[in-house]
């Protein structure tokens, strides 16, 4: 399969279209003899081009919700529909494909591979999605896209550096570049500023807002910081395993 379309301009989207829908999501964890219902009944409809923040205290289950919606984890009840398809019942290979092509993730602890340099970490998503021949055939275009993204994120002088030589903010920007590399339909951000100082966190938020504003990027961000959450189009609060709008 030719993947030359990966370097095409961002896909246009309209905010009226619901692309991800969680219905009655439940998730429980067994801790010794005790069963903890982290998610009881979560409903959420995410429209294309929307920037939604999910706010909640530490341990409230917001990361778990994000992981389930992003096909990183499974739920014990309910369903998640992406473009109308139930991802909870998809076979493994299809969920893998979804994570590679349609979803992008940013984590609190960046999660870069320490052996790879900045450019290689950014290219990891297309590497996973392509075979050797396919990747080598499109290598020039893919490298150019990665370099462009990194340049936009102010990292053009760091391409050959390994993560251990970068600051926290730089690492998170590399993680953003990696997440954007395959032009995801939805960008999931799990406490993206949680490990950064205020100023650096602010810069990361600016990047996310710019992505949303300029490229109409759909973003779901979980955070415990009410101030950051308010910068989203819509703020939801996860409390006692149930999601509610911030105003309610």
């Amino acid at each position: 399969m030719s993947r030359s379309d990966t370097v095409s301009p961002a896909k246009p989207a309209r905010k009226t279209e619901v692309i991800l829908q969680a219905q009655g999501l439940a998730r429980r964890f067994q801790m010794g003899d005790a069963t903890i219902d982290v998610l009881r009944h979560v409903d959420l409809a995410l429209k294309s081009g929307e920037f939604v923040a999910i706010e909640g205290r530490s341990g409230s289950g917001k990361s778990t919700l994000l992981h389930i919606m992003g096909a990183l984890d499974t739920c014990d009840g309910g369903s998640v529909l992406f473009d109308g398809e139930n991802i909870s019942t998809m076979p493994g290979w299809q969920r893998n494909q979804l994570r590679n092509e349609s979803f992008g993730f940013i984590f609190q602890f960046y999660y870069l591979l320490p052996e790879l340099n900045v450019l290689e970490n950014t290219l990891l998503a297309p590497m996973v999605g392509h075979g050797v021949g396919d990747f080598m055939g499109n290598r020039g275009q893919l490298r150019q896209r990665a370099a462009d993204l990194l340049e936009q994120l102010g990292l053009s002088h760091r391409l050959k550096h390994r993560p251990s030589h970068l600051s926290g903010g730089e690492r998170q920007r590399v993680a953003i570049a990696r997440a954007l590399m395959n032009r995801p339909r939805i960008l999931f951000a799990d406490e993206p500023t949680g490990n950064l100082d205020n100023e650096t966190g602010r810069q990361i938020m600016d990047v996310l807002e710019k992505l949303h504003r300029d490229q109409n990027q759909t973003i779901v961000m979980v955070t415990h910081d009410r101030g950051l959450a308010r910068e989203a189009d819509r703020v939801l609060v996860l409390r006692n395993g149930v999601l509610a709008s911030a105003e309610s």
Binding site: H67, G70, R99, N100, L112, L124, A125, V128, V132
Partner: protein, 497 residues
């Protein structure tokens, strides 16, 4: 694409990979060295023992031997399957005391052999160390015509017990003998096992040339002579003087340190095993000459057992044709070399079983070691597995990274192990010698292992097997950790502490 990229990155950047590589390399080297030395030893054992007495022997244990051996020889030489060109040779074996140069007295096995015939049978002649090239190098330096003629004859007659000097030269070596009216110039030649006189092997494998002239060494031999009753008369043992003409090396230390070789006809006379006159019914008759052994070589590719059966038939026919040939306690035996060395070969076969057992344990240890290292690698890379899965890597893809990692480490480690193993084995005798000189460490005692050199050949078959096992072990060692990595849920891996 990411699998190949990460395998190469992990190899280059992860120090633990170097430990895994070192473990595979060391295990491969160790197994290769052990297996090569042991299987080389077993091969040397078979070759050397095969070379000692030819393919088939007719023998009696008694030093008095058996009669009618010439008739046996004649018939055996005519048998189909026996190598042409006189590949059957009579031998007399007895025991004796030697006095070498008045400096060394020892009990030895004495073998009476016909050297020209011996070059077709066994490895005695191939093991003669010095005679021909030494004499050829010395011939131009000789001034005395008699010396020159004798030396030329010794060269031309090689292999023989010919002495390489003229009579005057030998007389000059023992001036005192003249006063005792002993004509030392008449003494015949003798060959001694090189280890009897304490010669050492040089690095190249040849026997060192001593600082003294080997040909000037005289030997007094007192052989054990069986009397007509079979009991040796110890009060009247003959003493025969000899001049050393060469030293031999069969490769079997026990033989090389305890065997002296003299001319067959001479020993036969000394032991009174030649045809002895006797009177019967007023007529003088002669007894049949005797020998202890007939050594036979078969044609290449001939069926040893079938030829041995024919030889046995020859012996049976002769035994039935004459009286007094058969004995109850010590019958004439016809044996193939494997039957004759059966007790030694059985011990070697036991060694082989032990070796396989040890090899199995070593392999298991190697697999376990690699497994532990890979388990640590996977544990250390658990979060990376979560990262890869979060961007769409499949479980199979993740497993392939670690299996591929194991495969590459196995291949590189196996290749390095092969290289180091080759270097060690190729130089094992030099290393052993150096250890002995520097630290007085002697691992290979020729008295224990029969041979004076450590086997230093690698069989291609063994090398291929061992490297293959190293590669398979590495992949096996990586399999369980790889499967564990593949089964991890992305979220579990990301939360891994």
């Amino acid at each position: 694409m990411y699998k190949l990229h990460l395998i190469l990155k992990y190899l280059r950047k992860r120090r633990i990979a170097w430990w895994a590589l070192a473990a595979v390399t060391l295990c491969t080297t160790m197994v290769l060295v052990v297996i090569s030395v042991m299987s080389g030893w077993m091969q040397m054992f078979r070759t050397a023992y095969h070379g000692l007495e030819g393919d088939i022997t007719i023998s009696r244990v008694s030093v008095s031997g058996f009669p009618h051996y010439q008739e046996m020889l004649e018939k055996v030489r005519g048998l189909d399957g026996v190598r042409d060109g006189g590949a059957a040779m009579p031998v007399i074996k007895t025991y004796g005391l030697i006095n070498v140069w008045g400096e060394l007295q020892d009990g030895v096995q004495v073998e009476g052999v016909n050297l020209p015939l011996a070059q077709h049978i066994g490895n005695l002649v191939q093991g003669l160390q010095n005679q021909k090239p030494y004499l050829e190098s010395r011939l131009p330096t000789l001034a005395d015509a008699a010396d020159k003629a004798a030396m030329q004859k010794a060269i031309d007659d090689f292999p023989s017990f010919d002495k390489p000097h003229g009579d005057d030269w030998y007389r000059a070596q023992m001036p005192n003998a003249n006063t005792r009216k002993v004509n030392v110039a008449n003494w015949p030649g003798i060959v001694l096992g090189y280890a009897i006189i304490g010669l050492k092997r040089e690095k190249g494998g040849a026997i060192e040339r001593p600082s003294f002239d080997l040909n000037s060494v005289w030997v007094h031999l007192t052989p054990l002579v069986p009397s007509s009753s079979g009991t040796p008369d110890l009060t009247n043992l003959p003493v025969q003087g000899f001049w050393l003409v060469d030293v031999s090396r069969t490769g079997v230390y026990q033989v090389d340190s305890k065997t002296a070789y003299v001319d067959f006809d001479l020993l036969q006379k000394l032991l009174q095993m030649d045809a002895q006159p006797y009177t019967q019914d007023g007529q003088q008759k002669f007894t049949s000459a005797r020998a202890n052994q007939i050594r036979i070589n078969v044609k290449p590719g001939a069926d040893l057992a079938a030829v041995a059966a024919k030889v046995k038939q020859v012996v049976d026919d002769i035994r039935n044709s004459y009286e007094g040939v058969e004995t109850q306690l010590d019958p004439i035996r016809v044996e193939t070399w494997e039957e004759r060395q059966g007790s030694f070969l059985a011990a070697v076969e036991h060694e082989k079983v032990l070796l396989l057992f040890l090899f199995g344990i070593i392999s298991l240890v190697a697999v376990f070691l690699i497994f532990c290292i890979f388990y640590m690698i996977v544990a250390e890379k658990t979060r990376d597995i979560g990262i890869l899965k979060s961007i769409g890597a499949s479980s199979g893809g993740v497993a392939m990274i670690f299996l591929g990692y194991g495969l590459v480490i196995g291949i590189i480690g196996g290749a390095l192990g092969l290289m180091f193993g080759y270097l060690v084995i190729h130089n094992i005798n030099a290393i052993h010698e150096w250890l002995g000189q520097q630290f007085h460490i002697v691992v290979w005692d020729p008295k224990t292992y029969l041979f004076d050199t450590i086997p230093n050949q690698i069989s291609a078959e063994n090398a291929i097997w061992i490297v293959s096992i190293a590669v398979v072990s590495s992949v096996l060692g990586a399999t369980l950790p790889a499967l564990r990595a593949a089964r991890l849920q992305p979220v579990e891996s990301l939360r891994w502490e």
